[in-house]
Symmetry: C2
Subunit: 466 residues, 2 copies
């Protein structure tokens, strides 16, 4: 019985969830701290919301499929008593997974950061100074089928501003992407930008708003299948020859962003909405022209249609060109974020960084910096309790000088101590044996180069301070 | 119908959970960053574990009461189908809240950071270099009845080392408490220390191990009720007159830690365990004598008995003496953390900071620093689009110099812009009107003092850099 129990408790984490090791945490913190620093530089302030929301806050916000993927929390206490009580009141109450949820669960884990943010804004509207520029970096949970690169718990990293219609915000999000990803070491990435109103304008001129997705999907294949291929696909999807003629300038859009805008303006000349979209994009481009993007290639891309039902103005997406990888960021403007909670007409625009994918890109490109202040800088090694006593004042001086330092507790073999330093990526060691204590000259070793020198405690301290 | 729906969706957070506003986040980050920095300085490395653990990992680890307070997650998909299937196989399967849990839930939210850490160590034992010094700062969830200062979601902030029996670790935890709490600005706090073996020794000499809690509770009242009161209480609790005689030196323990240790050593002279406890404490005191504690008053306190069934060596507790508040930290040594997951004989010692209580103490004592790098340093205000264009190059120069800066989008009244700066606690503003653009001298205002001066963009930049 005992053995059986032992065998049964081999521990694991739930499917689709991960532990993060010290090395991974150093790297993840580097990513998050960099992005947070840039958010702050642009005036964004951090908030946090609870992991749990009321089930009613989340349900119905992500479509039927989304509702199913929300993790529900079982009511604590006698949840089944409530079911019995309902059964006694409602004749023929059918017990099934769907009917029972609202009886046995009233809370759920957040599914994204957007709905909790909307809830936050409505709940705290009287304390908030608008425009409200907030960022939020917290995990979210989805009962998706786990697969490579898709987890049931993952961090989202969002910045949004609500209550400001100014397109300066859109321009600044482009700058934030540029600055943060450049700081992380990415050297070649594209920020794609589009505007929902341009897509609306195209739908208007062809009179087929319901086919706007088919259209963007087809145009997106231009590089691969050529103009004839695109036209063939469009005809198959229900467009007519006269639509194709109107659409040609849109399909063949190329050149600089300015050239594309000019072509769009003439193609969309009969659509007020479409022209408005062009004007908005031009304003954003003008704001950005004022600064110098460090790395990003900013591209007007009318095939960009993410979250079509949700966004009302600008749409963003970021892709690295160094590694094959889906988008590493995205966002856009929405004119009615808080309407679902009864606060109307609050416009917002926001972006998100895909931290897990950025991690994978940086890992593949070897972009994580080696030396950080997140690890121990020096390990003091000694052979016995006498050495330990000798080492303590030095240990305290090092820490007083804000140097991350450890003393390996007395009694372990020197090899074990040096292995510890190597495994923890500690760059320097100080060895204190009887010779060292006699002469007062410690053995200081650079673990990277293997070079070791004899020097006094004062010199060691000065060396490590730099 | 519509109105009814609107009225029903006034949003709220679940009972016992909280949103954190930007101001609260700045302060919370200050606390967490300070503590994390000290953990790192002493060689501790961060890990993170998933919010969800397998239900089997958590159940049975916190006692029956704890099991009830664990938040269980409802299985996704057709969880009720599984119940039906069980019912068809097991005759008379009684449906009740307890029986159903293991059928409809296989995951739960973590209840503390200790059990997930034990699970982590066992799962990753082949990757870990021992001694493993880890810290972890993450939220935990408990279905406790919420009350003032007690939440259903709160952060824990733990550091533990496993695989090292050295008492240097205990000594370093005292130093970590001292350094972190001093850095946070606390000026008067006590670190109480005890050793489980001393309590074991006392139980041994009186031969009543089952009454050890009654004993410490009674002794703890010495200041309030005097020796006679304590003796009366002990007699009521079942101690006999001869026990009292043996216990007197323990009850009347006073003076320096050294004096207390001497008294204990003679009182416990017949207990091997008790003397071992005294020796361990002395070793810890000797390690600490080597350094200078900055603020903490370190006190041997034999009434300290937290987690008696769990700890096997040192026991810690931290109390501020500036504000009436429960303990703001605690911990101790346990000799069998990972046994529950089948990995035996791994000794560990750890501490925890009570971040929410530390927040309340700092708030009451007004200890949060005003200037941090977490907020905007300067807001540029302008009257119209021309001013906005004029302002943009300055905005970019400020950010290039790593100064957190914002430009209020054109079009708002000056009062609204200055209110925005005040509400966000932005210390400086730059006003750009037509006079400023003509002369090239901007109006630079210190929002704290109200003083405003005219100066060129270059001078503003130089001023803000410092």
């Amino acid at each position: 019985m005992y053995i059986c129990r032992m065998a049964s408790i081999k521990p694991s984490t739930p499917k689709g969830t991960r532990d993060f090791s010290p090395t991974e945490m150093v790297r993840r913190n580097f990513i998050f701290d960099t992005i947070k620093g840039v958010f702050r530089k642009y005036g964004y302030q951090q908030i946090e919301t609870p992991a749990m929301e009321n089930l009613s806050t989340l349900m119905g916000k992500y479509g039927d499929e989304g509702d199913k993927l929300i993790f529900k929390i079982l009511n604590s206490g006698d949840y089944w008593g409530e079911v019995e009580s309902r059964k006694s009141k409602v004749e023929n109450l059918e017990l099934n997974s769907k009917n029972l949820i609202s009886i046995i669960s009233e809370k759920a884990l957040r599914y994204d950061l957007t709905v909790p943010f909307a809830r936050y804004v409505v709940m705290h509207q009287n304390e908030i100074t608008f425009p409200f520029k907030r960022f939020q970096v917290q995990p979210v949970w989805r009962a998706d089928r786990p697969q490579r690169g898709r987890y049931r718990e993952f961090y989202q990293c969002d910045a949004d501003v609500v209550g400001s219609p100014s397109l300066l915000n859109e321009a600044e999000f482009v700058m934030i992407y540029d600055e943060a990803l450049s700081k992380l070491g990415l050297k070649d990435f594209t920020i794609k930008i589009n505007n929902r109103k341009i897509l609306g304008g195209i739908a208007e001129i062809i009179g087929k708003p319901e086919h706007i997705i088919d259209l963007t999907v087809a145009i997106d294949k231009l590089d691969k299948i050529g103009l004839d291929g695109v036209i063939k696909e469009l005809l198959e999807k229900g467009f007519e020859q006269q639509d194709i003629e109107k659409l040609k300038p849109v399909i063949l859009l190329e050149g600089s962003n300015e050239a594309k805008l000019n072509s769009l303006r003439s193609a969309l000349s009969t659509s007020v909405t479409g022209l408005k979209g062009c004007e908005e994009l031009e304003t954003v481009f003008n704001y950005i022209a004022n600064c110098q993007l460090q790395t990003a290639d900013l591209q007007l891309d009318i095939t960009l249609a993410r979250g079509l039902n949700y966004y009302t103005g600008a749409i963003f997406e970021v892709k690295t060109n160094e590694v094959a990888m889906g988008s590493i960021g995205g966002g856009g403007r929405y004119d009615d974020l808080t309407g679902m909670f009864g606060l109307k007409d609050l416009t917002g625009v926001g972006i998100s960084f895909g931290a897990d994918r950025i991690y994978d890109v940086m890992d593949e490109l070897n972009l994580f910096p080696v030396d950080t202040n997140q690890t121990t800088k020096v390990l003091i090694c000694c052979f016995d309790v006498v050495g330990e006593q000798y080492a303590l004042p030095l240990l305290h001086s090092l820490r007083k000088a804000d140097i991350n330092a450890e003393l390996y507790p007395a009694g372990a073999k020197m090899k074990k101590q040096l292995d510890y330093a190597n495994n923890k990526h500690i760059p320097y060691t100080i060895v204190i044996g009887s010779d060292e204590m006699e002469s007062g000259l410690l053995t200081f070793k650079d673990m990277g180069s293997g070079v070791q020198e004899q020097m006094s405690a004062e010199v060691v301290l000065a060396r490590l301070r730099t």
